[in-house]
């Protein structure tokens, strides 16, 4: 396959030029998926789901670096979908980071955060980008659905995002999440029915039903 060269990567080594072309084609989709993963429903009184743009950019940045390392090691199979490959790296990065953060946050107390007037660790600061306007902008046209997605427990949401939004197979989702296929199947079922219920309640609250 001939990869069209862009002026920007014309001087890059052949490996990198090909990789950059793959990145160019997938970057938007990666950012979109990263924003969806980085959205949290814990915005307190805010009626918007909060999207951390920093978190999304971190995820994509990390995926591109780890992706290039893997690419140089021949771990990208020619002929397979670069987007699916990058998405897997991105999702794995998110899951690892989520696990790390969960462990870290479990040990945090109010005292640790305010000891001697010191500022808390970076993860406790609200990013400048976490404004309702930004969150609204990052929303898609299907806002009720996005909000219902955010309200799902994370394990269910990840399954649903991978299979129903990003179109992973059950086996791919199971491999990415490190759970058996049967678990993916049952989580998906619960996620879909919970989502349906939330959407039904939403419509009912607004007199649409």
């Amino acid at each position: 396959m001939t990869v069209p060269e862009t002026p920007k990567n014309a001087d890059a080594p052949p490996d990198r030029a090909r990789f950059m072309e793959m990145v160019r084609r997938c970057e938007m989709a990666l950012l979109r998926a990263a924003r969806r993963l980085c959205r949290s429903g814990s915005g307190g009184a805010s009626r918007y789901a909060v999207v951390s743009e920093d978190c999304a950019q971190d995820l994509v940045q990390d995926a591109l670096v780890r992706g290039y390392e893997a690419y140089r090691q021949g771990r990208f199979r020619e002929g397979s979908s670069p987007q699916a490959w990058f998405l897997r790296i991105l999702t794995n990065g998110f899951i690892n980071e989520h696990r790390r953060r969960t462990r870290w946050e479990a040990g945090v107390t109010v005292d640790t955060l305010t000891a001697q007037g010191a500022a808390g660790p970076p993860s406790t600061h609200a990013a400048a980008s976490e404004t309702p306007e930004r969150a609204l902008l990052a929303d898609t046209l299907d806002e009720p659905l996005e909000r219902a997605l955010v309200a799902l427990p994370e394990s269910l949401r990840l399954c649903l995002l991978l299979v129903d939004v990003e179109e992973y197979s059950y086996a791919e989702a199971a491999e990415t999440l490190g759970v058996p296929v049967g678990t993916v199947r049952s989580r998906l079922s619960r996620a879909r029915f919970q989502l349906q219920e939330s959407l039904h309640d939403y419509a009912k609250d607004r007199g649409l039903l």
């Binding site: 990789f19 950012l31 979109r32 940045q61 390392e69």
Partner: protein
Amino acid sequence: MALFLSGLSDGTLRGLTRWYAEQHTARCDHCAASLRALLALRQRLRALGHLPVTAAIPDLPDAPLQTLTPERRAAVEAAWTQIENNS
């Protein structure tokens, strides 16, 4: 039945269980309605995956970036160079 309906909605249900679920939904209005709702939901979810990153309200300033910021792009390229030098 929920698990069967979910599998029926995405086409992963096979064999006898698929046959059973199809037979059941043909006779049960409640499950048939559930299946229809699941199919519609999956369609909406799939559509989310194909929506552009840009927002529904394009006139608002500071729209979400469609690429990494220039600073992050530079950091990524520096990391790539380091990877090349290390190998």
